[in-house]
């Protein structure tokens, strides 16, 4: 299990190198989120709650590992100032079968989105705005 909360950029491909190569792994799923360069966005600032962030991520990663019998799980999430195109975060899951790997990755994404203490601020030509939580993101938690 690899969990990192960091300001530095990361390389999705390099992080997946050798991930989930255990003997009983038949399926590896990864998700990577990037800053979209739409609507003239010039930067994204991500604030987080040090300590609580790591604990919350570890809790959801543990839960995913137990529930879907994951052979491995990886979560990386950045904070600080990011530029359009930059990777924001990634998760990866390794399981015997594809359904488990997909479900565990979506579960992690849904919980990280609405329950890990990160807050995004979008900086554009007309100023800065905190990103509001979407109703659909909160609703997505119901399926788990």
């Amino acid at each position: 299990m690899r969990i990192r909360v960091q300001a530095e950029a990361f390389d999705m491909g390099a992080e997946l190198d050798g991930f989930g190569t255990g003997g009983d792994v038949g399926a590896v799923v990864s998700f990577t989120g990037r800053v979209r360069g739409t609507s003239g966005l010039t930067a994204m600032e991500i604030e987080h709650y040090p300590g609580m962030t790591e604990a919350a991520i570890a809790k959801y990663a543990d839960e995913a590992r137990d529930r879907w019998h994951l052979a491995d799980v990886l979560v990386i999430h950045r904070f600080g100032t990011l530029a359009p195109g930059d990777p924001i975060m990634m998760v990866a899951t390794a399981a015997r079968h594809r359904t488990a790997a997909f479900e565990a990755a979506e579960f992690l994404m849904d919980w990280l989105k609405s329950r890990a203490p990160f807050w995004k601020k979008e900086i554009g030509p007309d100023g800065a705005d905190w990103v509001a939580q979407k109703d659909e993101d909160e609703a997505a938690l119901d399926r788990w």
Binding site: E47, G51, L112, A116, P117, W119, A132
Partner: protein, 82 residues
């Protein structure tokens, strides 16, 4: 003594990321009332509690949660990670 942390626009409205307070409040809601009574900026930050979340000792909690034994309270808007 209680450490209070503020994040995102709550932090911006309060004007500082953290403060230490002496309080007799029994619950989060009572603490919020004390803060609101203090200064306009707190009243502004806590105007709509439904738009806020609270964590006690780094675990999500409710506004009616008791403060007994708690060392660290944090107020913030709904999270938008991922």
């Amino acid at each position: 003594m209680l450490d209070i942390y503020y994040f995102a626009w709550v932090r911006e409205r309060i004007g500082e990321p953290r403060e230490r307070v002496e309080t007799g409040a029994a619950t989060v809601a009572e603490l919020v009332e004390e803060l609101i009574a203090r200064e306009e900026r707190y009243a502004l930050a806590f105007a709509d509690l439904s738009a806020l979340r609270v964590a006690l000792d780094q675990e999500l909690a409710q506004f009616d949660s008791p403060l007994a034994g708690v060392r660290e309270v944090a107020f913030f808007p709904p999270m938008t990670g991922g």
